[in-house]
Protein backbone atom coordinates (compact mmCIF):
# COMPACT_ATOMS: atom_id res chain seq x y z
CA UNK A 1 0.00 0.00 0.00
CA UNK A 2 1.07 3.52 -0.66
CA UNK A 3 -0.51 6.59 0.80
CA UNK A 4 -0.49 10.13 -0.52
CA UNK A 5 -1.06 12.80 2.14
CA UNK A 6 -1.85 16.29 0.90
CA UNK A 7 -0.25 18.79 3.29
CA UNK A 8 -2.15 21.76 4.68
CA UNK A 9 0.02 24.88 4.98
CA UNK A 10 0.06 28.62 4.36
CA UNK A 11 3.18 28.59 2.13
CA UNK A 12 5.30 29.43 5.20
CA UNK A 13 4.59 26.79 7.80
CA UNK A 14 2.97 23.40 7.89
CA UNK A 15 -0.41 23.30 9.64
CA UNK A 16 -0.62 20.99 12.71
CA UNK A 17 -3.52 19.17 11.02
CA UNK A 18 -1.00 17.73 8.53
CA UNK A 19 0.94 15.95 11.29
CA UNK A 20 -2.33 14.52 12.60
CA UNK A 21 -3.31 13.35 9.14
CA UNK A 22 0.09 11.65 8.92
CA UNK A 23 -0.81 9.82 12.13
CA UNK A 24 -3.99 8.51 10.47
CA UNK A 25 -1.87 7.44 7.47
CA UNK A 26 0.48 5.52 9.76
CA UNK A 27 -2.48 3.66 11.23
CA UNK A 28 -3.49 2.56 7.72
CA UNK A 29 0.09 1.40 7.14
CA UNK A 30 2.30 1.47 4.06
CA UNK A 31 4.66 3.93 2.41
CA UNK A 32 3.69 7.51 3.13
CA UNK A 33 4.41 10.26 0.63
CA UNK A 34 3.35 13.87 1.00
CA UNK A 35 2.37 16.49 -1.55
CA UNK A 36 3.14 20.10 -0.72
CA UNK A 37 1.48 22.28 -3.36
CA UNK A 38 1.71 26.04 -3.07
CA UNK A 39 3.89 28.96 -3.99
CA UNK A 40 7.26 29.69 -2.42
CA UNK A 41 6.66 26.79 -0.06
CA UNK A 42 9.96 24.90 -0.25
CA UNK A 43 10.55 25.46 3.48
CA UNK A 44 7.25 23.72 4.17
CA UNK A 45 8.37 20.76 2.05
CA UNK A 46 11.72 20.55 3.84
CA UNK A 47 10.00 20.61 7.21
CA UNK A 48 7.38 18.02 6.29
CA UNK A 49 10.18 15.74 5.06
CA UNK A 50 11.47 15.69 8.65
CA UNK A 51 8.18 14.45 10.08
CA UNK A 52 8.13 10.92 11.44
CA UNK A 53 7.38 8.26 8.83
CA UNK A 54 7.48 10.42 5.70
CA UNK A 55 9.29 8.63 2.90
CA UNK A 56 9.13 11.30 0.25
CA UNK A 57 7.78 14.82 -0.23
CA UNK A 58 6.64 16.06 -3.61
CA UNK A 59 6.90 19.81 -3.95
CA UNK A 60 4.68 21.51 -6.54
CA UNK A 61 5.72 25.14 -6.35
CA UNK A 62 3.78 27.32 -8.77
CA UNK A 63 1.59 30.45 -8.95
CA UNK A 64 -1.35 28.19 -9.81
CA UNK A 65 -1.26 26.61 -6.35
CA UNK A 66 -0.64 29.72 -4.21
CA UNK A 67 -4.20 29.99 -2.87
CA UNK A 68 -5.13 26.30 -2.95
CA UNK A 69 -7.83 26.88 -5.57
CA UNK A 70 -9.85 23.66 -5.65
CA UNK A 71 -10.01 23.56 -9.45
CA UNK A 72 -6.19 23.49 -9.75
CA UNK A 73 -5.22 21.46 -6.69
CA UNK A 74 -7.78 18.73 -7.41
CA UNK A 75 -6.41 18.14 -10.92
CA UNK A 76 -2.86 17.91 -9.54
CA UNK A 77 -3.83 15.57 -6.69
CA UNK A 78 -5.92 13.34 -8.96
CA UNK A 79 -3.08 13.15 -11.49
CA UNK A 80 -0.47 12.20 -8.88
CA UNK A 81 -2.91 10.23 -6.74
CA UNK A 82 -3.93 7.66 -9.33
CA UNK A 83 -0.85 5.63 -8.42
CA UNK A 84 -1.69 5.34 -4.72
CA UNK A 85 -4.04 3.13 -2.70
CA UNK A 86 -5.08 5.98 -0.39
CA UNK A 87 -5.21 9.76 -0.66
CA UNK A 88 -5.59 11.63 2.63
CA UNK A 89 -6.03 15.29 3.52
CA UNK A 90 -7.06 17.03 6.72
CA UNK A 91 -10.80 17.81 6.92
CA UNK A 92 -10.12 21.52 7.09
CA UNK A 93 -12.03 23.96 4.89
CA UNK A 94 -9.20 23.55 2.36
CA UNK A 95 -9.34 19.74 2.32
CA UNK A 96 -13.13 19.72 2.29
CA UNK A 97 -13.01 22.07 -0.68
CA UNK A 98 -10.77 20.15 -3.08
CA UNK A 99 -10.90 16.48 -2.00
CA UNK A 100 -14.40 15.63 -3.32
CA UNK A 101 -13.27 17.00 -6.68
CA UNK A 102 -10.29 14.63 -6.53
CA UNK A 103 -12.61 11.71 -5.78
CA UNK A 104 -14.95 12.60 -8.66
CA UNK A 105 -12.03 12.98 -11.08
CA UNK A 106 -10.87 9.49 -10.09
CA UNK A 107 -14.47 8.17 -10.22
CA UNK A 108 -14.41 6.96 -6.62
CA UNK A 109 -16.40 7.81 -3.50
CA UNK A 110 -14.94 9.80 -0.62
CA UNK A 111 -14.91 8.92 3.07
CA UNK A 112 -15.27 12.24 4.89
CA UNK A 113 -14.05 13.27 8.29
CA UNK A 114 -12.76 9.96 9.69
CA UNK A 115 -12.15 9.77 13.44
CA UNK A 116 -10.53 6.33 13.54
CA UNK A 117 -8.84 3.79 11.31
CA UNK A 118 -10.17 0.25 11.87
CA UNK A 119 -8.26 -1.34 8.98
CA UNK A 120 -6.90 -0.26 5.60
CA UNK A 121 -10.43 -0.06 4.19
CA UNK A 122 -12.63 0.45 7.27
CA UNK A 123 -13.05 3.69 9.15
CA UNK A 124 -15.25 5.36 11.73
CA UNK A 125 -16.84 8.72 11.07
CA UNK A 126 -19.42 10.86 12.84
CA UNK A 127 -22.82 11.30 11.20
CA UNK A 128 -25.87 13.33 12.26
CA UNK A 129 -23.60 16.03 13.72
CA UNK A 130 -21.80 13.52 15.89
CA UNK A 131 -24.99 12.06 17.37
CA UNK A 132 -24.09 8.72 15.81
CA UNK A 133 -20.83 7.09 14.77
CA UNK A 134 -20.78 5.08 11.56
CA UNK A 135 -18.30 2.34 10.71
CA UNK A 136 -17.87 2.32 6.94
CA UNK A 137 -15.96 0.14 4.52
CA UNK A 138 -14.72 1.48 1.20
CA UNK A 139 -14.68 -0.87 -1.78
CA UNK A 140 -12.99 1.62 -4.07
CA UNK A 141 -9.57 0.88 -5.51
CA UNK A 142 -8.32 4.30 -4.48
CA UNK A 143 -9.61 5.47 -1.13
CA UNK A 144 -10.05 9.21 -0.92
CA UNK A 145 -10.30 10.25 2.73
CA UNK A 146 -10.50 13.43 4.77
CA UNK A 147 -9.31 13.20 8.38
CA UNK A 148 -10.76 14.97 11.40
CA UNK A 149 -7.47 16.17 12.83
CA UNK A 150 -8.68 16.52 16.43
CA UNK A 151 -9.25 12.75 16.57
CA UNK A 152 -5.58 11.83 16.00
CA UNK A 153 -2.37 12.58 17.92
CA UNK A 154 0.22 14.29 15.74
CA UNK A 155 3.28 12.37 14.60
CA UNK A 156 6.63 13.77 15.72
CA UNK A 157 7.62 16.79 13.63
CA UNK A 158 11.27 15.74 13.75
CA UNK A 159 13.14 12.51 13.30
CA UNK A 160 12.19 11.57 9.75
CA UNK A 161 14.42 11.98 6.71
CA UNK A 162 12.30 11.97 3.57
CA UNK A 163 13.55 13.18 0.21
CA UNK A 164 12.08 16.25 -1.45
CA UNK A 165 11.28 15.89 -5.13
CA UNK A 166 10.10 18.67 -7.43
CA UNK A 167 6.92 18.22 -9.40
CA UNK A 168 6.67 20.27 -12.56
CA UNK A 169 3.06 19.54 -13.57
CA UNK A 170 1.03 22.72 -13.68
CA UNK A 171 -2.76 22.68 -13.71
CA UNK A 172 -4.03 26.20 -14.07
CA UNK A 173 -7.71 26.65 -14.88
CA UNK A 174 -9.11 29.83 -16.40
CA UNK A 175 -12.53 29.70 -14.76
CA UNK A 176 -11.72 30.61 -11.17
CA UNK A 177 -9.38 33.10 -9.57
CA UNK A 178 -8.46 34.24 -6.09
CA UNK A 179 -9.68 37.77 -5.29
CA UNK A 180 -8.70 38.28 -1.66
CA UNK A 181 -9.05 37.15 1.91
CA UNK A 182 -9.71 38.57 5.33
CA UNK A 183 -8.04 36.49 7.99
CA UNK A 184 -8.89 36.99 11.62
CA UNK A 185 -5.82 38.38 13.32
CA UNK A 186 -5.19 37.22 16.80
CA UNK A 187 -2.22 36.76 19.09
CA UNK A 188 -4.00 33.83 20.67
CA UNK A 189 -3.77 30.28 19.36
CA UNK A 190 -6.18 29.03 16.72
CA UNK A 191 -9.43 27.67 18.17
CA UNK A 192 -9.18 24.29 16.48
CA UNK A 193 -5.60 23.60 17.54
CA UNK A 194 -5.45 25.26 21.00
CA UNK A 195 -4.70 23.09 24.04
CA UNK A 196 -7.08 25.16 26.15
CA UNK A 197 -10.28 26.83 24.98
CA UNK A 198 -12.39 29.17 27.07
CA UNK A 199 -15.82 29.97 25.61
CA UNK A 200 -18.57 32.35 26.57
CA UNK A 201 -22.29 32.12 25.97
CA UNK A 202 -25.35 34.28 26.27
CA UNK A 203 -24.62 34.58 29.99
CA UNK A 204 -21.76 36.95 29.14
CA UNK A 205 -24.49 39.55 28.50
CA UNK A 206 -22.51 41.60 25.97
CA UNK A 207 -19.39 41.67 23.81
CA UNK A 208 -17.41 43.88 26.19
CA UNK A 209 -17.58 41.27 28.90
CA UNK A 210 -15.66 38.86 26.66
CA UNK A 211 -12.55 40.79 27.78
CA UNK A 212 -12.89 38.93 31.05
CA UNK A 213 -12.43 35.66 29.13
CA UNK A 214 -9.63 37.09 27.01
CA UNK A 215 -7.68 38.09 30.12
CA UNK A 216 -7.84 34.55 31.42
CA UNK A 217 -7.08 33.11 27.98
CA UNK A 218 -3.92 35.21 27.78
CA UNK A 219 -2.77 33.90 31.14
CA UNK A 220 -3.28 30.30 30.02
CA UNK A 221 -2.25 30.59 26.38
CA UNK A 222 -5.81 29.63 25.49
CA UNK A 223 -8.09 30.40 22.57
CA UNK A 224 -11.42 32.15 23.09
CA UNK A 225 -14.62 30.68 21.67
CA UNK A 226 -18.33 31.36 21.88
CA UNK A 227 -21.66 29.61 21.68
CA UNK A 228 -24.01 30.20 18.79
CA UNK A 229 -26.29 32.12 21.15
CA UNK A 230 -23.48 34.60 21.85
CA UNK A 231 -22.72 34.93 18.14
CA UNK A 232 -26.37 35.33 17.18
CA UNK A 233 -26.75 37.99 19.88
CA UNK A 234 -23.94 39.90 18.18
CA UNK A 235 -21.52 39.72 21.14
CA UNK A 236 -18.65 38.34 19.05
CA UNK A 237 -17.87 37.53 15.39
CA UNK A 238 -18.97 34.21 13.92
CA UNK A 239 -15.49 32.80 13.40
CA UNK A 240 -15.41 32.30 17.19
CA UNK A 241 -18.38 29.97 17.19
CA UNK A 242 -17.86 26.48 18.60
CA UNK A 243 -20.54 23.96 17.71
CA UNK A 244 -22.18 21.79 15.10
CA UNK A 245 -22.42 24.72 12.69
CA UNK A 246 -19.18 26.36 13.81
CA UNK A 247 -15.81 24.94 14.71
CA UNK A 248 -15.28 21.47 16.14
CA UNK A 249 -12.73 21.58 18.95
CA UNK A 250 -11.22 18.91 21.18
CA UNK A 251 -8.69 20.63 23.46
CA UNK A 252 -7.15 19.26 26.66
CA UNK A 253 -9.28 21.68 28.64
CA UNK A 254 -12.53 23.33 27.61
CA UNK A 255 -14.04 25.95 29.91
CA UNK A 256 -17.68 26.84 29.15
CA UNK A 257 -18.73 30.09 30.81
CA UNK A 258 -22.36 31.17 30.84
CA UNK A 259 -23.20 28.52 28.23
CA UNK A 260 -26.36 26.48 28.79
CA UNK A 261 -25.18 23.55 26.66
CA UNK A 262 -27.52 23.24 23.68
CA UNK A 263 -27.01 20.05 21.61
CA UNK A 264 -25.65 22.22 18.81
CA UNK A 265 -22.88 23.51 21.10
CA UNK A 266 -22.12 20.11 22.66
CA UNK A 267 -21.58 18.65 19.19
CA UNK A 268 -18.63 20.98 18.77
CA UNK A 269 -16.80 20.40 22.06
CA UNK A 270 -17.84 17.16 23.72
CA UNK A 271 -14.65 15.37 22.66
CA UNK A 272 -12.57 17.73 24.80
CA UNK A 273 -10.46 15.88 27.38
CA UNK A 274 -11.60 17.87 30.40
CA UNK A 275 -14.68 20.06 30.44
CA UNK A 276 -15.36 22.76 33.02
CA UNK A 277 -18.75 24.48 33.20
CA UNK A 278 -19.41 27.71 35.04
CA UNK A 279 -23.08 28.67 35.14
CA UNK A 280 -25.43 30.08 37.72
CA UNK A 281 -28.27 27.81 36.57
CA UNK A 282 -27.79 24.51 38.36
CA UNK A 283 -30.11 22.80 35.87
CA UNK A 284 -28.14 23.87 32.75
CA UNK A 285 -27.53 20.83 30.49
CA UNK A 286 -23.84 21.74 30.19
CA UNK A 287 -23.35 20.25 33.68
CA UNK A 288 -24.32 16.82 32.32
CA UNK A 289 -21.14 16.69 30.24
CA UNK A 290 -18.83 18.69 32.49
CA UNK A 291 -16.09 16.98 34.50
CA UNK A 292 -16.08 19.91 36.89
CA UNK A 293 -19.09 22.13 37.40
CA UNK A 294 -19.20 25.37 39.34
CA UNK A 295 -22.66 26.75 40.05
CA UNK A 296 -22.00 30.44 40.52
CA UNK A 297 -22.36 33.84 38.94
CA UNK A 298 -19.71 34.15 36.27
CA UNK A 299 -19.20 37.82 37.10
CA UNK A 300 -18.00 36.77 40.56
CA UNK A 301 -16.02 33.77 39.35
CA UNK A 302 -14.07 35.20 36.41
CA UNK A 303 -12.16 37.93 38.31
CA UNK A 304 -11.29 35.44 41.04
CA UNK A 305 -10.24 32.82 38.53
CA UNK A 306 -8.01 35.32 36.75
CA UNK A 307 -6.31 36.15 40.01
CA UNK A 308 -5.80 32.55 41.12
CA UNK A 309 -4.44 31.07 37.91
Amino acid sequence: MSILVVAEHDNNAVDPSTLKTLAAAQKIGGDIEVLVAGKGCSTVAENVAKADGVKKVMLADNDAYEHQLAENISELVADLGKNYSHILAPATTTGKNFMPRVAALLDVAQVSDIISVESDDTFKRPIYAGNAIATVQSEDKIKVITVRATAFDAVAAEGGSGDVENIDSVFNNDKSEFVGEQLAESERPDLTSAEIVISGGRGMQNGDNFHMLEDIADKLGAAVGASRAAVDAGFVPNDMQVGQTGKIVAPQLYVAVGISGAIQHLAGMKDSKVIVAINKDEEAPIFQVADYGLVADLFDVLPELKEKL
Binding site: F98, D113, P126, F178, V274
Partner: protein
Protein backbone atom coordinates in the same frame (compact mmCIF):
# COMPACT_ATOMS: atom_id res chain seq x y z
CA UNK B 1 -30.08 33.73 -15.86
CA UNK B 2 -31.29 30.35 -14.73
CA UNK B 3 -30.46 28.87 -11.34
CA UNK B 4 -30.68 25.20 -10.45
CA UNK B 5 -30.94 24.38 -6.75
CA UNK B 6 -30.43 20.83 -5.52
CA UNK B 7 -32.24 19.97 -2.28
CA UNK B 8 -32.32 16.96 0.03
CA UNK B 9 -34.96 15.52 2.35
CA UNK B 10 -33.42 14.80 5.75
CA UNK B 11 -34.41 14.26 9.36
CA UNK B 12 -35.69 17.51 10.91
CA UNK B 13 -32.80 19.16 12.70
CA UNK B 14 -34.78 19.43 15.94
CA UNK B 15 -35.24 15.67 16.17
CA UNK B 16 -32.86 13.72 18.37
CA UNK B 17 -31.56 10.81 16.33
CA UNK B 18 -31.74 7.29 17.72
CA UNK B 19 -29.63 4.36 16.66
CA UNK B 20 -31.53 1.13 15.84
CA UNK B 21 -31.06 -1.63 18.44
CA UNK B 22 -29.36 -3.87 15.83
CA UNK B 23 -26.90 -1.02 15.06
CA UNK B 24 -27.65 -1.25 11.33
CA UNK B 25 -28.45 2.45 10.96
CA UNK B 26 -30.25 5.29 12.68
CA UNK B 27 -33.98 4.83 13.15
CA UNK B 28 -35.93 7.03 10.75
CA UNK B 29 -39.31 5.33 11.16
CA UNK B 30 -42.03 7.85 12.04
CA UNK B 31 -39.50 10.63 12.40
CA UNK B 32 -40.27 14.15 11.22
CA UNK B 33 -38.48 14.92 7.96
CA UNK B 34 -37.68 18.33 6.51
CA UNK B 35 -35.71 20.25 3.94
CA UNK B 36 -32.01 20.09 4.83
CA UNK B 37 -31.22 23.49 6.48
CA UNK B 38 -28.31 24.25 4.14
CA UNK B 39 -30.55 23.45 1.14
CA UNK B 40 -33.16 25.84 2.49
CA UNK B 41 -30.49 28.56 2.48
CA UNK B 42 -29.65 27.59 -1.12
CA UNK B 43 -33.30 28.00 -2.18
CA UNK B 44 -33.52 31.34 -0.35
CA UNK B 45 -30.39 32.67 -2.08
CA UNK B 46 -31.70 31.69 -5.52
CA UNK B 47 -35.09 33.27 -4.82
CA UNK B 48 -33.40 36.48 -3.63
CA UNK B 49 -31.37 36.60 -6.85
CA UNK B 50 -34.63 36.26 -8.75
CA UNK B 51 -36.30 38.99 -6.70
CA UNK B 52 -33.31 41.25 -7.35
CA UNK B 53 -33.82 40.74 -11.09
CA UNK B 54 -30.51 38.87 -11.47
CA UNK B 55 -32.11 35.50 -12.15
CA UNK B 56 -35.24 34.83 -14.17
CA UNK B 57 -35.87 31.22 -13.33
CA UNK B 58 -35.25 29.05 -10.27
CA UNK B 59 -35.52 25.29 -10.76
CA UNK B 60 -35.27 22.91 -7.78
CA UNK B 61 -34.26 19.28 -8.05
CA UNK B 62 -34.28 16.46 -5.52
CA UNK B 63 -33.28 12.81 -5.75
CA UNK B 64 -35.26 10.15 -3.93
CA UNK B 65 -38.58 8.36 -3.51
CA UNK B 66 -41.99 10.00 -3.90
CA UNK B 67 -41.70 11.49 -0.41
CA UNK B 68 -39.14 14.05 -1.60
CA UNK B 69 -41.98 15.80 -3.45
CA UNK B 70 -42.93 17.20 -0.07
CA UNK B 71 -39.58 19.04 0.14
CA UNK B 72 -39.83 20.12 -3.49
CA UNK B 73 -43.25 21.66 -2.72
CA UNK B 74 -41.65 23.44 0.25
CA UNK B 75 -39.00 24.88 -2.07
CA UNK B 76 -41.72 25.94 -4.53
CA UNK B 77 -43.57 27.63 -1.68
CA UNK B 78 -40.39 29.50 -0.82
CA UNK B 79 -40.35 30.92 -4.34
CA UNK B 80 -38.81 28.41 -6.78
CA UNK B 81 -40.59 28.30 -10.17
CA UNK B 82 -40.62 24.61 -10.96
CA UNK B 83 -39.35 21.31 -9.62
CA UNK B 84 -37.76 18.10 -10.85
CA UNK B 85 -37.85 14.85 -8.92
CA UNK B 86 -35.30 12.22 -9.90
CA UNK B 87 -37.15 9.19 -8.61
CA UNK B 88 -35.19 6.35 -7.03
CA UNK B 89 -35.67 4.17 -3.98
CA UNK B 90 -31.93 3.55 -3.70
CA UNK B 91 -29.99 5.97 -1.56
CA UNK B 92 -27.35 7.23 -3.97
CA UNK B 93 -23.95 8.09 -2.53
CA UNK B 94 -22.53 11.57 -3.17
CA UNK B 95 -20.80 10.53 -6.39
CA UNK B 96 -23.97 8.98 -7.83
CA UNK B 97 -25.95 12.03 -6.73
CA UNK B 98 -23.41 14.27 -8.48
CA UNK B 99 -23.68 12.14 -11.64
CA UNK B 100 -27.46 12.42 -11.57
CA UNK B 101 -27.23 16.18 -11.04
CA UNK B 102 -24.79 16.39 -13.94
CA UNK B 103 -27.48 14.80 -16.11
CA UNK B 104 -29.97 17.43 -14.93
CA UNK B 105 -27.44 20.21 -15.55
CA UNK B 106 -26.90 19.00 -19.11
CA UNK B 107 -30.67 19.04 -19.72
CA UNK B 108 -31.40 22.36 -18.04
CA UNK B 109 -28.25 24.35 -18.81
CA UNK B 110 -28.29 26.54 -15.69
CA UNK B 111 -25.90 29.48 -15.24
CA UNK B 112 -25.49 28.67 -11.58
CA UNK B 113 -26.08 25.63 -9.43
CA UNK B 114 -26.59 26.26 -5.73
CA UNK B 115 -26.43 23.44 -3.20
CA UNK B 116 -26.17 23.18 0.58
CA UNK B 117 -22.58 22.59 1.70
CA UNK B 118 -23.63 19.38 3.39
CA UNK B 119 -26.69 17.46 4.51
CA UNK B 120 -27.19 17.12 8.24
CA UNK B 121 -27.66 13.34 8.03
CA UNK B 122 -24.55 11.96 6.35
CA UNK B 123 -22.48 15.14 6.90
CA UNK B 124 -20.39 14.30 3.85
CA UNK B 125 -19.88 17.74 2.32
CA UNK B 126 -19.11 16.30 -1.14
CA UNK B 127 -21.87 16.58 -3.73
CA UNK B 128 -21.34 20.19 -4.88
CA UNK B 129 -17.61 19.75 -5.31
CA UNK B 130 -18.07 16.44 -7.13
CA UNK B 131 -20.59 18.04 -9.47
CA UNK B 132 -17.99 20.74 -10.12
CA UNK B 133 -15.38 18.19 -11.14
CA UNK B 134 -17.81 16.20 -13.32
CA UNK B 135 -19.12 19.25 -15.18
CA UNK B 136 -15.83 21.16 -15.23
CA UNK B 137 -17.51 24.09 -13.48
CA UNK B 138 -15.62 26.22 -10.95
CA UNK B 139 -16.88 26.21 -7.38
CA UNK B 140 -17.40 28.59 -4.49
CA UNK B 141 -18.00 26.41 -1.45
CA UNK B 142 -19.17 27.43 2.05
CA UNK B 143 -20.48 30.73 0.71
CA UNK B 144 -21.36 33.57 3.04
CA UNK B 145 -21.85 36.11 0.23
CA UNK B 146 -22.73 35.77 -3.46
CA UNK B 147 -22.42 38.72 -5.85
CA UNK B 148 -23.29 38.14 -9.49
CA UNK B 149 -21.54 40.23 -12.17
CA UNK B 150 -21.57 40.09 -15.95
CA UNK B 151 -20.65 36.51 -16.79
CA UNK B 152 -19.10 35.87 -13.39
CA UNK B 153 -19.89 35.54 -9.72
CA UNK B 154 -17.83 36.61 -6.72
CA UNK B 155 -18.24 34.20 -3.84
CA UNK B 156 -17.05 34.99 -0.32
CA UNK B 157 -16.25 31.75 1.45
CA UNK B 158 -16.05 30.89 5.13
CA UNK B 159 -12.63 29.34 5.66
CA UNK B 160 -10.94 28.21 8.88
CA UNK B 161 -8.99 31.42 9.40
CA UNK B 162 -11.64 33.91 8.23
CA UNK B 163 -13.06 34.72 4.79
CA UNK B 164 -11.82 34.20 1.25
CA UNK B 165 -13.26 35.64 -1.97
CA UNK B 166 -13.01 33.90 -5.32
CA UNK B 167 -14.21 35.04 -8.74
CA UNK B 168 -15.82 32.32 -10.84
CA UNK B 169 -16.81 32.40 -14.49
CA UNK B 170 -20.40 31.31 -15.07
CA UNK B 171 -21.70 28.68 -15.15
CA UNK B 172 -20.52 27.99 -11.62
CA UNK B 173 -21.33 25.98 -8.51
CA UNK B 174 -22.05 27.60 -5.16
CA UNK B 175 -22.47 25.71 -1.89
CA UNK B 176 -24.04 27.52 1.03
CA UNK B 177 -22.84 28.08 4.54
CA UNK B 178 -25.09 28.93 7.44
CA UNK B 179 -24.62 32.68 7.39
CA UNK B 180 -25.35 33.30 3.71
CA UNK B 181 -28.92 34.35 4.52
CA UNK B 182 -31.86 33.70 6.80
CA UNK B 183 -34.50 31.74 4.94
CA UNK B 184 -38.03 33.09 4.98
CA UNK B 185 -41.08 31.21 6.15
CA UNK B 186 -43.45 30.15 3.41
CA UNK B 187 -46.73 32.06 3.61
CA UNK B 188 -50.03 30.22 3.38
CA UNK B 189 -50.94 31.75 -0.02
CA UNK B 190 -47.52 30.72 -1.34
CA UNK B 191 -47.97 27.19 0.01
CA UNK B 192 -51.31 27.02 -1.86
CA UNK B 193 -49.72 28.47 -5.01
CA UNK B 194 -46.87 25.95 -4.81
CA UNK B 195 -49.33 23.10 -5.29
CA UNK B 196 -50.05 24.34 -8.79
CA UNK B 197 -46.43 24.88 -9.84
CA UNK B 198 -45.01 22.32 -12.29
CA UNK B 199 -43.28 19.25 -10.84
CA UNK B 200 -41.73 16.89 -13.34
CA UNK B 201 -40.45 13.40 -12.59
CA UNK B 202 -37.52 11.68 -14.19
CA UNK B 203 -35.24 8.80 -13.16
CA UNK B 204 -31.53 7.98 -12.94
CA UNK B 205 -32.11 5.57 -15.86
CA UNK B 206 -33.49 8.32 -18.05
CA UNK B 207 -30.45 10.41 -17.18
CA UNK B 208 -28.17 7.46 -17.99
CA UNK B 209 -26.82 7.07 -14.46
CA UNK B 210 -26.40 3.87 -12.49
CA UNK B 211 -26.97 4.47 -8.77
CA UNK B 212 -24.05 2.97 -6.89
CA UNK B 213 -22.74 2.78 -3.39
CA UNK B 214 -19.13 1.72 -2.98
CA UNK B 215 -19.00 2.63 0.69
CA UNK B 216 -20.71 0.02 2.84
CA UNK B 217 -22.27 0.98 6.13
CA UNK B 218 -21.15 -1.74 8.54
CA UNK B 219 -22.39 -0.40 11.83
CA UNK B 220 -23.90 2.65 13.48
CA UNK B 221 -23.32 3.29 17.18
CA UNK B 222 -24.31 5.86 19.72
CA UNK B 223 -21.23 7.87 20.64
CA UNK B 224 -19.72 7.26 24.04
CA UNK B 225 -21.73 9.37 26.43
CA UNK B 226 -19.90 11.71 28.73
CA UNK B 227 -21.09 11.34 32.25
CA UNK B 228 -21.54 14.28 34.54
CA UNK B 229 -18.56 14.85 36.78
CA UNK B 230 -18.44 16.58 40.11
CA UNK B 231 -19.62 19.95 41.31
CA UNK B 232 -16.94 22.06 42.92
CA UNK B 233 -17.70 24.51 45.70
CA UNK B 234 -15.58 27.45 44.65
CA UNK B 235 -12.79 28.75 42.44
CA UNK B 236 -10.08 27.45 44.79
CA UNK B 237 -11.37 23.91 44.54
CA UNK B 238 -11.73 24.22 40.76
CA UNK B 239 -8.15 25.40 40.27
CA UNK B 240 -6.89 22.70 42.63
CA UNK B 241 -8.75 19.93 40.76
CA UNK B 242 -7.54 21.17 37.37
CA UNK B 243 -3.94 21.28 38.58
CA UNK B 244 -3.72 18.19 40.71
CA UNK B 245 -6.48 15.81 39.59
CA UNK B 246 -7.01 16.49 35.89
CA UNK B 247 -3.45 17.85 35.47
CA UNK B 248 -4.45 20.14 32.62
CA UNK B 249 -3.05 23.37 34.07
Amino acid sequence: MKILVAVKRVIDYNVKVRVKPDQSDVDLANVKMALNPFCEIAVEEAVRLKEAGTADEVVVVSIGPKAVQEQLRTALALGADRAIQVETDDMPDSLSAAKILKGVVEKEGPDMVILGKQSIDSDNNQTGQMLGALTGMPQGTFASKVEVGDGFVNVTREIDGGLQTVKLNLPAIVTTDLRLNEPRYASLPNIMKAKRKPLETTSPDELGVEVKRTIKLLKVETPAERSAGVKVADVDELVDKLKNEAKVL
